[in-house]
Symmetry: C2
Subunit: 433 residues, 2 copies
């Protein structure tokens, strides 16, 4: 028999399954999911801010009044009424479209998966920000894409670097299938593209005739002013837009959407039917009824206020506790700040010591496909209470201080003896409480 005693089918897997290996960090997170650990790791929305009694009534009404639909298979493309409501929400970031070009998915992650499945053959290139969303990297790896990181500056994706990357790909004959970007309140970088920047990026994409895959789960969670206009609001045909209810209603419903040019939409629906037949009517109708009966705009304001308070707690604590040489981004919305440690500290190597000191974060290497990011880490302020955030940062600063002391005493070799491999298949939820 081929294979081995542990896995008799080890020789039977597809090539793409080679990329599906659990990381050491994953195991570490499993160990660290204890209540005494302050987790600044997970990107879990604070769903306790929802009125669960009202939400319970909505779910009950959906089953009682619309049970034969809610409990039944539905359209592969998603519920028609919900698709209209999705356009109302997407309109807040300037997106105009037709319900026929909306595809409802089991969370925005599934949209990412479907777009990649439809566009990418093994070896095809996708351009991503540097750093990029760990869950997107996982999808691209699972379809054997060639991931090329493009530099960011203080305003996100850098146009000059994008032009160079596209030019380089063109001259080397690589097939660039799309530019994946999170323009608003970037995960993990915490940066936001201004309108002018978005126009520049779009113009470059158009010049090279490459579509943009715009991932916008946080667009309505800005802390001041109007929500940034989506790149999709500037171009119907060149941008595939991913939206999500996970952060503005509840992630446990697993309802997201894609707005795509018509031809792409057609492929996506067929791919979606192959993947799951149809999205859950139970979840979709609950979202739909929530949107039609509740003051969801007010609820989004509640979330904005709550996350702003937590962002402030994080920034104040970093200002107060972080040792000199540590820097971080200042997010204007969303869930994350991106921290750069003083050289030569290594955030991956430091993680076990941080968890021993009862604080958790996601090391930067998880957000790169190529091993970069060892001096970086992502801090999430979305889930813990503000005082817990401050305490977590205080603990983390203590760990960094101790690492620096060690280096000053014994030299860098003591703390970082080996090159750090890229972190593979980290759970993007980094599921700690």
């Amino acid at each position: 028999m081929a294979g081995n005693r542990l896995d008799p089918w080890v020789d039977s897997y597809a090539e793409r399954a080679q990329g599906l290996t659990a990381s050491a960090i994953r195991a570490l997170f499993a160990v660290a999911s204890r209540p005494e650990v302050v987790s600044l790791a997970g990107g879990m929305p604070y769903v306790s801010a929802l009125d669960s009694d009202r939400f319970a009534q909505i779910a009950a009404k959906v089953v009682r009044d619309q049970g034969t639909v809610a409990l039944q298979y539905g359209s592969g493309q998603g519920d028609p009424t919900l698709r209209e409501q999705i356009l109302e929400i997407s309109g807040l970031v300037g997106v105009r479209s037709h319900p026929d070009d909306v595809v409802v998915t089991a969370g925005s992650q599934m949209g990412l998966d479907l777009v990649t499945k439809v566009f990418c053959d093994p070896g095809d290139t996708v351009l991503v920000e540097s750093p990029s969303y760990v869950g997107a990297l996982g999808v691209f790896r699972s379809y054997q894409c060639n991931v090329v990181h493009v530099a960011m500056d203080h305003e996100g994706l850098d146009p000059q670097a994008l032009r160079e990357a596209l030019g380089q790909a063109k001259s080397s004959g690589s097939r660039v299938k799309f530019i994946y970007t999170i323009p608003s309140f970037h995960n993990p970088a915490g940066l936001t593209q201004g309108l002018q920047r978005r126009k520049e990026i779009l113009a470059i994409a158009q010049e090279f005739n490459v579509p943009i895959l715009e991932d916008d789960p946080y667009g309505l969670l800005g802390f001041e002013g109007e929500p940034p206009k989506a790149i999709r609001s500037l171009d119907d045909q060149g941008v595939i837009y991913l939206g999500s209810f996970s952060k503005i209603i509840a992630s446990g419903l697993r309802v997201g959407w894609v707005i795509a040019p018509h031809g792409v939409r057609e492929k996506l629906v067929l791919a979606a039917e192959a993947a799951t037949l149809c999205p859950s009517n139970f979840s979709q109708l609950t979202v739909s009824r929530y949107l039609s009966e509740e003051n969801w705009q007010q609820q989004i304001k509640v979330f904005q206020e709550l996350y702003r308070e937590r962002r402030d707690a994080l920034l104040q604590a970093m200002q107060a506790y972080m040792p000199t040489g540590t820097t971080w981004t200042v997010p204007q919305g969303g869930f994350y700040s991106w921290v750069t440690l003083p050289a030569p500290l290594n955030a991956t190597n430091m993680l076990p010591r941080a968890i021993s000191s009862l604080v958790a974060y996601v090391p930067g290497t998880g957000f790169y496909a190529d091993g970069q990011g060892s001096t970086n880490l992502r801090l999430s302020y979305c889930y813990p209470q503000p005082d817990r955030i401050a305490e977590g940062v205080r603990r983390l600063a203590g760990v960094i201080d101790a690492e620096l002391d060690l280096i000053n005493t014994f030299g860098a070799a003591q703390t970082d003896q080996t090159a750090t491999p890229p972190v593979r298949s980290i759970n993007p939820l980094s599921n700690l409480n």
Copy 2:
């Protein structure tokens, strides 16, 4: 600009997307979804048999009492309590396993997709029954598999044909990744493997060292006696088992599961996280609470009784109305009977005339990857009331009679002028009411 005015990205798609094309039949079904049409096409469970008031209460309790979990992201592998309950249900078909080897999916279709993604490179061979489930064929096509149909006899998958197909693949150097089978109440064939047959098939799979992918959505919906023991009950390591709540609770929840050998399970969880991050906690906890608070065994008996009555209505009507030369299988459970028309009738070509006569079915070619099945069609008795089923069969028999008359008068060429291409990407729900 590459592409065309209709789809600017037509040259950018992955090779696998070539298989994602909508069939003409799909369009026909869209036209035919009117209430006056008796649909014997769709495989939709009769969810109206559930007590929607009680189900509404359960959904409300889940949100009210467990809202911070139900509305939040969860484990990529699925809720731990639900995984234990799944083992209790799988135990009814003899499956013994550990909760750690269960992966919860957004419906059983997603399990099919993940297993194929993990095992199949483009060009790899999968063996399937002849005919096979249209949704599985869609998945296999989307991963560019080489699908080989293996003959069935009155007891389902034919061991001799299986042995020959495996031998042929071996001698031709094809990599057979798995044998996909629906042993109980087959979709679309309506056939069931006896225990001895299952043992023979398993022994052959073991001999050739090929895993079995066992799809068992209907296993608990038999019309008499104990549910058939799953092939998985005979072998832990050589069988990947797919289960579903769609037919025993409600399809709109989109909750299914995979029980897999440990090494396969590990890959499946990582692939599932890339695909959707995690299954819906909202749906999972609702299923879990339903299982713990309701008499689900009794509800399954209600479904069995209901579907048996409809099966009987179908068989009686076929006996009464179908013209000589038409034959059909007699299902002992599940949703479907497989009909063979008198030669040279063509079920695909006949469909527009059937819909004009206000009855719908799924033509047989949809259940083959290779263009077979033109004289076959699938009838579903799961959704319409018994008197509607009888009326639908009466109308269908009339259409067949008229076709036969036409042939007797003008010859076969008049009704079937062209070879019928395989039906691609038919919606497996064939979503007609």
